[in-house]
């Protein structure tokens, strides 16, 4: 593991993604070789392995992957919300905090090195999280109004009672809920309404980064659609950046600016949303896209991805996807492919098929060009 790791770091150094994106807009968040382990010592399992990514101001980054791919561990890791035995075992997470007072400017904070006081200051005011299950996240014996009140009392001590109430009502109307919901208990609300309240709470202090961990997975499609529309509206108004985690790639294609695909704790592909959908480059991404039956066209049998996701404590040698990969070569079982840039469009893929100088030809499915003649915009 150790020599392999050093090699890997060197490989990443040579092709450091950030060195290319120099002229890009200011990132809100930048992860560098971010690693999370479960456990320490011989029994440690690496759940997130050397992840590099950036989230730009007001952009949406989609994180896709199956359960156990490390997508949730990644975000709870850099927000430092994971509990032991999880341990951040390397890397940094640079967060650009907005001005906390009028007189101060922006500051760059490494969340990995931050102490408790700094984290407490950043959480909710700068970074907020919306969990998958709003039923479990809301205290069942506290009225919705009290929840909002508590947030403002804790972080905006200068606000009066009337101001707090006025602001709460405003927030509720933003997510399309009536004022009378403030008097309700969480169990009196439906799943969709609870999730709207979670979103309103997350936006209460005008954060610059909102993390959504499968916020709509437990909801019906119609409710999901309404919440997604609401989110788009709110984002247009407040301009917060968003990390959206889901296993539903087609949802991400609509919603996100950029998508990263995770497999067994590593990023395997990173691309603009539309590019990823129209011309996936990693066999796993292709497999994931083919796992969703389409809503159009003739019906034909889809095969998806054979096998099942790997056990993180017994990863196969080389590329973790290689035992399930239809295009696996000899090299895939020997060496782990680095996440390397593929073109100028900011696309990265961790697959030997695309490494120049390889003798294997890239399969036609993974060569398909993106129909860039379309409008080119990735947002809806």
């Amino acid at each position: 593991m150790s020599t392999d790791a050093v090699e890997q770091v060197v490989a990443d150094e040579a092709t450091s993604p950030e060195s290319i994106a120099t002229a890009a807009p200011t990132p809100v968040l930048q992860l560098q070789d971010f690693c999370v382990d479960y456990g320490v010592g011989a029994r440690a399992v690496r759940a997130v392995d050397r992840v590099n990514l950036r989230v730009d101001r007001s952009k949406v980054l989609g994180v896709a992957g199956e359960s156990g791919s490390g997508k949730s561990t990644l975000v709870y890791g850099f927000t430092r919300l994971l509990r032991a035995p999880a341990v951040i075992s390397g890397g940094s997470a640079l967060f650009t905090a907005g001005p906390s007072r009028e007189d101060s400017g922006e500051e760059l904070i490494d969340l990995v090195g931050a102490d408790e006081a700094t984290l407490r200051r950043l959480r909710w005011t700068q970074i907020s999280v919306v969990l998958q299950s709003a039923l479990n996240a809301l205290n069942p014996v506290v009225r919705v109004g009290t929840l909002f009140d508590a947030v403002y009392r804790a972080h905006r001590s200068d606000m009066s009672r009337a101001e707090r109430r006025a602001r709460s009502v405003e927030l509720l109307s933003l997510v399309g809920l009536n004022e009378d919901r403030l008097q309700r208990f969480p169990h009196e609300l439906s799943g969709g309404q609870r999730q709207r309240i979670m979103i309103a709470l997350a936006l209460a202090l005008d954060p610059s980064l909102v993390i959504m961990d499968e916020p709509t997975t437990a909801l019906d499609v119609v409710t999901q659609r309404e919440i997604l529309n609401k989110l788009a509206e709110l984002r247009a108004r407040f301009g917060f950046a968003m990390i959206f985690i889901t296993h539903d790639l087609s949802l991400l294609v609509e919603l996100a600016d950029e998508i990263v695909v995770m497999y067994a704790g590593r990023l395997v592909e990173r691309a603009r949303a539309r590019d990823l959908y129209e011309s996936p480059r990693h066999p796993y991404t292709l497999g994931l896209l083919n796992s969703f039956p389409p809503m159009h066209g003739a019906r034909h049998e889809l095969t998806g991805i054979p096998g099942s996701p790997p056990d993180l404590s017994q990863l196969p040698s080389g590329c973790a996807f290689q035992p399930r990969c239809p295009y696996a070569m000899d090299r895939c079982a020997r060496e782990q492919p680095p996440l390397a840039p593929l073109d100028e469009a900011g696309r990265y893929v961790a697959c030997w098929l695309h490494v120049a100088g390889e003798h294997a030809t890239v399969p036609v499915e993974l060569r398909r060009a993106a129909p860039s003649s379309r409008d080119g915009g990735s947002g809806a």
């Binding site: 399309g176 409710t223 309404e226 087609s250 039956p293 389409p294 998806g304 099942s308």
Partner: protein, 348 residues
């Protein structure tokens, strides 16, 4: 409906209804009757998958349980192989061996203290397999769901298997008793994306190779389109639209189906904005007229006053909506099946 190429119906329901009395939040002790399943008539045919699509609260899971006779219906009839089943009496073992139900949560539906072997051997023994053939039969059941080699799985405990494998065991457990009808209640919704297709293809294979009649219950309309010969959309316990083939998805007629399909994330044509119509719950389900009218963007006066019948809007395609009252097709109703041997086919 033309029935030239429609296979034999194995399980049929006519006007199947199940009511529950529930307390309404914030209204003290007042109770309200909820029509979880309301006047549902459907035919499950050998070698065909019938999909029931609906959101949570549409009654689709209750329908599966009423068909499996785990929950007794309030009224309505059931016919198995054309023979009426005394629907309100206790379920017989014979019925259980013909109609089996696969549950949604593969992790929850296996007892954590028992090995996989127990889950396969019990149904075999209950349904009268000889002791010496039990082992061979349970191995065969695992092979039918492509868990190979079977001896590797028999002695495992549920927590040692993945969700996809457990759901296959769950299907194998149902298949052990050689059912003619398999009811699958959201069998893939708890599974990982990459293994979902495997389970869907397995169901397809069972349907084609062994001529099972399968009821596939789902909230995922795309998977219904992928798998089913017939699609039924339920809203508030009622069938609102029904079609053979993919007509319902490709050309939805009922405003609810249209809303449902517009809401599905679809990279091919992303929707700009769908209207905020609220959600399906006790307060938005109408008690008078069409159940959907409080949320319907095209609601008319008649919708508020009177419940619409099902109109024929295309070939083998019905829609329970007043919009189609002037449609050339007449309102349709499935006939009550006659006993076998009376020489009358079950469809009109």
């Amino acid at each position: 409906m033309s029935d030239a190429d429609v296979p034999v119906s194995v399980l049929q329901s006519r006007h199947l209804t199940r009511h529950f009395r529930v307390r309404v939040a914030g209204q003290g002790w007042r109770r309200r009757v909820v029509h979880a399943v309301d006047d549902v008539s459907l035919d499950l045919r050998a070698g065909e998958v019938t999909a029931v699509v609906g959101e949570s609260g549409s009654g689709k899971s209750v329908l599966a349980r009423v068909l499996a006779r785990i929950i007794a219906p309030t009224s309505g009839e059931l016919y198995l192989h054309g023979e009426p089943v005394a629907a309100t009496s206790r379920r017989t073992l014979a019925y259980a061996s013909d109609v089996q139900l696969v549950l949604q949560d593969p992790f929850g539906s296996m007892n954590p203290v028992h090995q996989i072997r127990h889950n396969l051997e019990r149904p075999l023994m209950i349904h009268g397999a000889a002791r010496q053939e039990v082992r061979a039969l349970s191995e065969a059941a695992l092979r039918r769901v492509s868990l190979e080699p079977p001896e590797r799985f028999l002695d495992r405990y549920p927590h040692e298997l993945s969700g996809g494998q457990l759901q296959r065991v769950s299907i194998a457990r149902a298949l052990c008793v050689r059912p003619k009808v398999l009811l699958a209640d959201e069998p893939i919704s708890m599974l990982d994306v990459s293994v979902r297709l495997g389970v869907l293809n397995l169901l397809r294979g069972l349907c084609d190779d062994e001529h099972l009649a399968i009821l596939y219950i789902t909230h995922d309309i795309a998977s219904a389109r992928y798998l089913a010969e017939e699609i039924i959309v339920m809203y508030a316990g009622q069938v609102v639209e029904q079609s053979r083939g993919t007509a319902l998805v490709d050309d939805p007629t009922h405003p609810y189906t249209q809303l449902l399909i517009a809401s599905v994330p679809d990279p091919v044509n992303p929707v700009a904005a769908a209207p905020d119509t609220g959600e399906q719950n006790l307060s938005t389900i109408a008690t008078q007229g069409c159940r959907f009218h409080p949320r319907c963007p095209r609601a008319m006066d008649i919708c508020r006053a009177q419940e619409p019948p099902a109109y024929l809007v295309g070939e083998a395609h019905t829609s329970k909506c007043w919009l189609y009252r002037d449609h050339p097709g007449a309102p349709v109703e499935l006939a009550i099946p006659r006993r076998r041997g009376e020489g009358v086919t079950t469809m009109t």
